[in-house]
Amino acid sequence: MSTEQMTCKERVQAAVKYEDIDRLPVFKGYFSPARLVDRKMNYSFFTDAEAIAEACWQAWKYFDDDGIHLLDGGFMEEEFGADSIWPENNYPMINHILVTDHEAADALKEPDPYKDSVFTAILKATEILRKKAGDEVMVCGFINGTFNYAARLMGTENMMNYLATDPELVHKVCRKVADAQVRYAKAYGEAGIELIFMPDATSAPACISPKTYGKMALPYLKEAVKGFQDAGALAMYHPCGGEYPIIDQIGQTKADIYYFSELVELDVAQKIFVDRAAVAGTVNGSRELFLGTPEIVDEHVKGIIDRLKYRTGAIIMPGCGLSPNCKYENVKAMVDATKEYGKN
């Protein structure tokens, strides 16, 4: 097959099923494209559906990759009752820990995706983008992982402590988070989302043991993935942080795409998941994309692609989320290198 015979959407859909493709797909990844429309990444931007849609559209045009990615803007924590800080040009942060005991966990509000000021803007942006994108390219959304949300509500250090001393409290919070994730996914689905990205660093081996992962996190992650798929979207799960010790368990989530950090070799992951799920990621977001040059990125991406056994079933993308001040020329170099070296 020669280059660019497929639309972006066809390419991704076929790659997920390990079917023949014209070239490997590439995602620019998840970072705020606000500066492409001369905006700062702040509350005003995150609640402006037209600006979000325009920025994401411009980002797709600019980077010329295989997906339109709605930025990390959903802020379910506020809907749970947390108060937050919105720094100028950075991601929002929780001001105070919300859950410190069972009473507080019981008192958590039930997030309503249609009342969440940030998420309603994202839903509207999804609808705008779906109309513009047609059948050419997928609109990809973002819902944080169950443990990531729980850690933001409980405080990461406290949550690690509760995992050892009061696991029922963690279960209680995760139960509410997983239910909310499914509600948000349903709303996303109604707006026409086609892929939902779920990062969950807090349940990865950089934080908890594989045993704790299986017992405490996996059941909720399975529910979230099923919720995404029931909403009509592909589920892309990112167990971020030293993933190898749980690579035998993550398949139980039955996600469509497993998205790995640079700590995993994409070719090894592909051999493990071949014909079951696509694999994605592993381009080093710090050493190459943030600190490197286009030439360094080109060589790095070539190496990743050259080591793949199958020229399908893999999506090249940054190993994790990128900062808003990432070097655009390096992200572009990653896309160009995939187009060059990922041809079939």
Binding site: P87, N90, Y91, M93, T156, E157, M160, N161, L163, A164, T165, P205, A206, C207, I208, S209, T212, G241, G242, P245, G285, S286, R287, F290, L291, L322, S323, P324, N325, C326
Partner: protein, 221 residues
């Protein structure tokens, strides 16, 4: 200690160490009180008991036999033991040096930093914790206030914030303090290359390595 049976010094040290390793708060209180009752030197009890337990925790963490929940629970137990023994110290514990530690500005992730602090403390370092979201001038001002700092240690979890480390290095240079301290950095996006690029002296990938690097920087084994 059941009844009034007298315990040997070594047995008490072993209990303190086990208590920390197992995250057993009741046992650490019992063993620390026994140490005081038996007239055991508190400094020795901290080094041979509590710190030895924490060192074992660090080894298990490095080998991925322990994870954050276990480390945090052990750290709490370690602190509990210190709280009981510290008022009984007859002399200061010989310290390899003083570390000024903080998560850099625009970054509120401090769990990694806190674990490094525990590990450094267990290795005898005096650690001044500036907390999270720390601006460069706070590092500078604290050095001026304290007078003698051996290592400035910085943490960042995001590429968004890691350049804040370079700002601290520059601020130290501007104030003529750079040559008076060693600088070490760590955190998920940080690498040896970045460390070299910003002109820091040491990089550690995790808390256990952090102790090794800190010791190397101050010239102790």
């Amino acid at each position: 200690m059941k009844g009034d049976m007298k315990m040997s010094k070594e047995a008490i040290f072993k209990q303190l160490s086990h208590a920390v390793f197992d995250g057993d708060d009741d046992l650490v209180v019992e063993a620390a009180e026994a140490a005081i009752k038996e007239g055991i030197d508190a400094t020795e009890a901290i080094i041979e008991g509590l710190a030895a337990g924490m060192t074992k925790v660090g080894e298990y963490y490095e080998k991925q036999k322990y994870f954050l929940p276990e480390v945090i629970i052990s750290a709490e137990t370690f602190k509990q033991g210190i709280k009981i023994l510290e008022p009984h110290l007859s002399k200061d514990i010989a310290s390899p040096g003083t570390v000024l530690m903080g998560t850099v500005i625009s970054d509120v992730h401090d769990i990694g930093k806190n674990i490094v602090i525990i590990m450094l403390s267990a290795s005898g370092f005096k650690v001044i914790d500036l907390g999270k979201d720390v601006p460069p001038e706070a590092f500078v001002n604290k050095i001026k206030e304290v007078g003698k700092v051996d290592i400035v240690a910085m943490s960042a979890l995001m590429t968004t914030s890691m350049m804040g480390m370079q700002d601290v290095v520059e601020a130290l240079k501007k104030e003529g303090l750079r040559d008076k301290v060693k600088i070490m950095v760590g955190g998920a996006p940080v690498s040896q290359r970045f460390t070299d690029d910003i002109g820091a002296d040491g990089y550690a990938g995790d808390a256990v390595e952090g102790v090794r690097v800190a010791k190397r920087l101050v010239g102790v084994q």
